[in-house]
């Protein structure tokens, strides 16, 4: 019985729903505030994403004529659920809940499920703007997949040296290895991979310079062109929570060694690190550069960022 209660607690509160939503909204609010401050303006209050979400919940949901009603309403819920499940599988430093039941490949595919749910939602809404939006979202997914995979393999090889198989995909092993011999970020051969991962985070989430899928100025909110009311609010919430999940993934992959005694303290450290990461990877590029064109995103990720990841993969493979 206690395990059931613990599971409900895990799913609903700590690494699950409540924690992710609160931290995600916090990160999103902070991001908008920092971008505003960098543009020399006051910027919205910190709780602005929370107000946006609540406002969307209060609005009316219109189902367009060409839309597939069932899929149209189910897509955001499915995407959000898959994202929270991925968050459950990511260990918060030493406090790992379900990370033994899934590894890096599963998390990679869960994040793909989140992307696919947005695409299916756009397809089900039947609007041409959504059609262009989903095609751009898919190109963005293809472009960040290669560096993400190279980083994953590099980390797997580096952390797997000790294991009998020589490689590992399991996050638990990666965290233990980092606890044993120092965070991966401080191994010089992994610096390019960490840099590549920093680039992958904004494209995965769809933050400003790489938000070709939801370019509101070009294709009228792209994938969310036909969404109004709670589904649109849920999609925006997924967008915010994804910021936290990607930062958490980076922290585990490259800073996994940090582990204070208690889970609460670990969670706090994770939040602080996520704030720093959000600033570095999402706020600064958002304030500084303009939105990329579609083929520029693809070319940038498959040449520059993939090159960085490949360098560290080769270095790791040579045993350095």
């Amino acid at each position: 019985m206690t395990t059931l209660l613990w599971t409900i607690f895990h799913v609903l509160v700590f690494p699950g729903l409540l924690f992710c939503v609160v931290v995600g909204l916090l990160l999103a609010g902070l991001d908008r505030k920092l971008v505003a401050r960098m543009q020399n303006r006051v910027g919205p209050p910190l709780l602005q994403p929370w107000y946006d979400f609540l406002k969307c919940c209060g609005k009316e949901t219109i189902i367009p004529r060409h839309a597939r009603r069932g899929l149209f309403l189910a897509a955001p819920v499915l995407g959000f659920a898959a994202l929270i499940t991925a968050a459950l599988f990511i260990p918060v430093f030493s406090y790992s809940v379900y990370s033994t039941s899934a590894d890096l490949v599963v998390i990679l595919y869960l994040l793909t499920v989140v992307g696919v749910s947005m695409i299916v939602g756009a397809a089900a809404s039947g609007s041409p703007f959504a059609g262009v939006g989903l095609s751009r979202e898919m190109v963005a997914m293809i472009s960040y997949e290669l560096p993400f995979v190279l980083v994953m393999l590099a980390v797997g090889r580096m952390a797997g040296v000790g294991t009998p198989l020589g490689v590992t995909f399991s996050l638990q092993a990666i965290v233990d290895w980092q606890a044993a011999n120092g965070n991966l970020l401080f191994h010089w051969s992994m610096i390019p991979a960490a840099l590549a991962m920093l680039f992958v985070i904004p494209c995965e989430i769809g933050m400003h310079p790489f938000d070709i899928a939801e370019a509101e100025t070009e294709i009228c909110e792209g994938t969310l062109a036909e969404y109004s009311g709670p589904p649109a609010g849920l999609f925006r919430l997924t967008h915010c929570v994804k910021m936290y999940v990607m930062c958490a993934l980076f922290c585990v992959l490259f800073l996994g060694g940090i582990s204070t005694g208690y889970a609460a303290l670990d969670a706090l450290v994770m939040v602080v690190l996520s704030v720093v990461l959000t600033f570095v990877t999402m706020s600064v590029p958002h304030a500084v550069c303009a939105r990329f064109k579609v083929e520029q995103v693809f070319k940038f990720y498959w040449t520059v960022v993939a090159g960085l990841a490949l360098i560290s993969l080769i270095l790791v493979w040579l045993g350095l």
Partner: protein, 646 residues
């Protein structure tokens, strides 16, 4: 004369094959007069072979017995096998299961799918011969018997491809398949002749015993010929453009057979060749060669499929890229690799069959397969759309479905192989596998958007959902799609481990046929089963529980939070048809028909790869002589490589 049932099981394989061939013969005899009689005969023969093969599961898979059936009771005389035999071990039964299930499903489907066509007697005769020959190939224990079955398989497949000869391109596709298919068959025949000249026997078990110790260049040449021959049956790299032409015009149930079953025979041939006959999969050259072919065909076919305009051509290229996955992982030589390959082969037949049947349903309902003009069918054909989504999700490897389970094992296998050997080539293979999986997802999203979602073309305004009879087999396949995905460890334990052990256990295979101790006499090392342990963890049930609980949590929060009348307004009555509120937003314009689909998707990706796509476009010229040129070039290259490195 007591009838002891125990060794009656030995007759099951031959009975299964015979029921199919007999069905072909009887249906052509009796089928002229009434369709009902013909359909029952066809259904009965399929059912008998299905039941017989399923009955074999317990003895062969679970108890590990290897059934040997010497035709005409020509037992081997003092260690020399001259009779023709059927040898059913766990590996061949695994493939037989795939074949029989696919045959049954596509047979039931074609009862309804082919209702528009005429001269169905020929169709069912050829169909049953095709399935009989495929089952014969998989169960046979004799090399030449395999060649005979390959011949029947190829020619019936060619005839069935051209069955709808009023389609433009049908005869041309069949002709190309005939020419290049026979090129493949002749290379198999040459290989068999070379082996026969050296070994003076055709029984697989005996050849497997004598061959490893036998050192003569002829054997290397035979290996090259046989490998390319089986490769052409599986439409691997140089033979892959042929598959697209053949599939695009074949009826959907035949496309299911070709891509689901025929390619698996090619894969079965390669496994037998490398693991059982030559036992040379542990040589690094053979691993590089097989994995290389797998990776090239995997990557080339997925990029070729990326900007196809025809639904079935796209599926055809994808089936070759999935077979490329299977070959890549089999080429690794590790036990995990073999079980991942077999798992993916099984899953591929299931989800590719489902996708081909949905393509057939779309063609049956709308009459066209062109991605640029279809669109918005999900409103008219909700059942087919749901089935397509299940198939597309499982082929692109989304977690709850079976595609993910096998792809996850493939990544484990390739990455572990890279870890053990410390060889960078296998890391490239793993990366290529992951990138191909994303490109598969991209092309299936393109198909989903251009066929099922978006706006309905006025030409197809009155399409109706296909009959239930067509959808039941699809639902069977869809259920099969989900089941292995949820319980991969059960599938691994019952199906995959015995099949992998059997594939790697050449001495067991030999002793079963030629009497125990025969393999030892030829100094074939006894078989120690390799332990499979994984570098990651994946419990799908845990994942599903979490997903459901989070979805429930979200719904509860939504219900709690949302006001009582959660105003979800949608168009209720027809008179609000002109109410602009429910038009999709066209920045103010009246919503005219403007479907975003087909070739105007993924511009960013195609723009960056335009030179590669134009090169591939010219390379796949569609001219038969080019394809035969590629085939002979493949044989030449294989010969040179085998002679130098093997």
């Amino acid at each position: 004369m007591t009838f002891d049932f125990s060794n009656f099981i030995n007759n099951f394989p031959i009975l299964a094959i015979m029921s199919l061939f007999l069905g072909a013969f009887v249906s052509s005899l009796v089928g002229r007069r009434s369709a009902k009689v013909r359909n029952t005969v066809v259904f009965l023969s399929m059912l008998i072979s299905l039941v017989l093969i399923l009955a074999l599961i317990k003895p062969v898979l679970l108890e590990g017995k290897i059934i040997n059936y010497w035709l005409g009771n020509w037992e081997p005389v003092n260690g020399w096998a001259f009779g023709n035999s059927l040898e059913v071990d766990a590996l061949s039964l695994f493939f037989a299961l795939i074949v029989v299930v696919a045959v049954f499903v596509s047979g039931v489907y074609s009862f309804f799918y082919m209702s528009h066509d005429d001269s169905l007697v020929n169709y069912y005769t050829l169909f049953l011969m095709l399935s009989g020959s495929v089952l014969g190939l998989v169960l046979s224990g004799d090399l030449f018997n395999m060649f005979v079955m390959i011949e029947i398989m190829t020619f019936t497949a060619v005839a069935l491809t051209a069955f709808r000869n009023h389609y433009e391109g049908a005869l041309e596709g069949a002709f190309k398949y005939l020419v290049v298919g026979s090129l493949g068959s002749t290379s198999v025949l040459i290989g068999i002749a070379l082996i026969y000249s050296q070994m003076h026997t055709l029984n697989l078990a005996q050849i497997a015993a004598m061959l490893p110790g036998y050192d003569s260049p002829v054997i290397l040449i035979a290996f090259a010929f046989l490998f390319v021959g089986f490769g052409s049956k599986a439409f691997l790299f140089p033979f892959h453009p042929l598959a697209a032409d053949a599939h695009a015009v074949a009826p959907a149930s035949i496309s299911l057979m070709i891509s689901g079953v025929l390619t698996k025979c090619g894969v079965y041939g390669i496994i037998r060749l490398c693991y059982c006959l030559y036992q040379n999969m542990d040589q690094t050259f053979v691993q590089y060669f097989v994995t290389g072919i797998g990776v090239i065909s995997m990557f080339v076919c997925v990029t070729m499929a990326f900007n196809q305009h025809n639904f079935k051509r796209l599926l055809a290229f994808h089936s070759i890229s999935q077979v490329g996955y299977v070959i890549t992982v089999i080429g690794l030589g590790s036990a995990l690799g073999m079980s991942a390959g077999l798992f993916h082969a099984m899953n591929h037949t299931i989800f590719k069959g489902l996708l081909f049947l949905t393509a057939g349903a779309v063609q049956h309902a709308t009459g066209s397969l062109d991605l640029d003009e279809l669109g918005g069918l999900s409103k008219k054909m909700p059942g087919t759309c749901a089935l397509f989504l299940i198939g597309a999700a499982s082929i692109s490897g989304l977690p709850p479905f079976n595609g993910f389970a096998s792809k996850w094992m493939i990544y484990q296998a390739t990455f572990q192989k890279a870890g053990e050997t410390g060889n960078f080539f296998f890391v490239v293979v793993c990366v290529a596998a992951l990138i191909t999986s994303v490109l598969t997802l991209a092309s299936f999203i393109k198909v989903a958007q251009s066929v099922f979602f978006g706006q309905l073309n006025l030409k197809f305004a009155n399409t109706k959902e296909v009959s239930l009879g067509m959808r039941i087999p699809m639902w069977i396949l869809a259920a099969l799609c989900i089941l292995p995905g949820l319980f991969p460890d059960k599938v691994q334990q019952w199906l995959l481990t015995p099949a992998t052990q059997a594939a790697m256990n050449a001495p067991g295979y030999i002793d079963a046929a030629m009497g125990s101790g025969y393999a030892a006499s030829f100094a074939i090392p006894a078989y120690q089963p390799q332990q499979i342990f994984l570098s990651g963890a994946w419990q799908p049930v845990m994942w599903l529980l979490l997903l459901i609980s989070v979805t429930l949590a979200v719904c509860i929060v939504a219900l709690l939070g949302g006001d009582e009348k959660a105003t979800v307004t949608s168009e209720i009555s027809a008179d609000t048809d002109c109410d602009p509120k429910y038009d999709s937003f066209f920045s103010g314009e009246a919503s005219v028909y403007s479907q975003v689909g087909g070739s105007d998707l993924f511009w960013g990706f195609k723009h960056n790869w335009r030179r590669y796509f134009s090169f591939m476009h010219d390379w796949h010229s569609g001219v038969v002589n080019d394809y035969t040129l590629y085939g002979t070039a493949a044989i030449a290259v294989a010969l040179v490589l085998c002679v130098i490195f093997l």
